[in-house]
């Protein structure tokens, strides 16, 4: 507690994002990292989306012209990724809310994470098939 040391020694600590490399992530850490990444990804899209929807006020020509961008194949794939992110974020969000408000949920933390993956796949696979088909048609 009382260390009145003024020595000249090199200070090394393992703070910062670099620490992520040093820890073998348990499932909970993976689920949280995915949640954060998908959340930030969806936010970026949301900002873009607000800009484009703002353009409806400039009339059909301006707006419809912009839609060409959205119909580009790269964006169509991005759209699928967006849906994946949103689904995961939603499913894992439900898991977090359960942990927060259902006092017994902590007992099933792992199972809930696997449940999230299951729900995600159940929802995303059919959606993805529909969306891919729409691109191919």
């Amino acid at each position: 507690m009382t260390t009145e040391t003024a020595r000249e020694v090199r200070q090394v600590s393992s703070r910062g994002l670099g620490a992520y490399r040093g820890y073998r992530p348990p499932p909970g850490m993976i689920s949280w990292a995915l949640h954060r990444v998908t959340g930030l990804g969806v936010l970026l899209f949301l900002l873009l989306h607000i800009v484009d929807i703002f353009l409806v006020n400039y009339g059909p020509e301006t707006f419809n012209e912009l839609l060409f961008l959205y119909r580009h194949p790269v964006f169509r794939i991005g759209e699928i990724v967006l849906v994946a992110g949103l689904y995961y974020h939603a499913a894992n969000g439900v898991r977090i809310i359960l942990i927060d408000f259902w006092p017994q949920a902590y007992r099933y933390e792992r199972q809930l994470f696997y449940g999230v993956i299951a729900v995600f796949l159940l929802a995303f696979v059919p959606t993805a098939i529909l969306m891919i088909r729409a691109i191919l048609v």
């Binding site: 910062g16 994002l17 954060r36 959340g39 930030l40 969806v42 936010l43 949301l46 900002l47 607000i50 800009v51 929807i53 703002f54 409806v56 006020n57 009339g59 059909p60 707006f63 419809n64 839609l67 959205y70 119909r71 964006f75 169509r76 759209e79 967006l82 849906v83 949103l86 689904y87 939603a90 969000g93 439900v94 977090i96 809310i97 927060d100 408000f101 959606t127 529909l130 969306m131 729409a134």
Partner: protein, 137 residues
């Protein structure tokens, strides 16, 4: 044998911004699951970007329900997402100056995008353009 009744908690804590932020996260998240996934399914799966154009939006926003729906979603998603970004800033940006700067940027984004999004959703008047379109046609 008489048992002593469990009792904990007598005093009340004072409220804090982080508490409300946390609570807002959960409530808005729950609502957004329905709003955003509903939106995505309608706009990106059932309909695809191929079918969506200015007219589609104009028709949709003829209904006050869809306008309310979209505005609520915009409002919640924007705050939910930017609040998430704020947490990420708090988690990763340690120097005080950078942190304040990042917070300022986020709040500015929130206000600006909330305004332009609201303008788009609430003040959009398709008849104006339809009149122009008819006159021109």
């Amino acid at each position: 044998m008489a048992t002593v009744r469990p009792h904990v908690g007598r005093e009340r804590p004072s409220g804090g911004f982080e508490l409300y932020s946390w609570y807002f996260f959960r409530l808005s998240g729950l609502l957004l699951i329905f709003l955003a996934i509903g939106h995505v399914v309608i706009m990106h799966v059932i309909n695809t970007v191929d079918e969506i154009d200015w007219q589609f939006v104009a028709d949709r926003w003829n209904s006050p329900f869809w306008r309310a729906y979209d505005w609520l979603m915009l409002f919640l998603a924007l705050l939910h997402g930017l609040n998430g970004a704020r947490l990420a800033v708090d988690d990763y940006i340690r120097p005080q100056g950078w942190r304040i700067l990042a917070h300022s940027v986020l709040w500015t984004l929130a206000i600006v995008f909330l305004i332009i999004g609201s303008i788009a959703v609430l003040t959009f008047d398709p008849t104006r353009f339809q009149a122009i379109a008819h006159a021109g046609g």
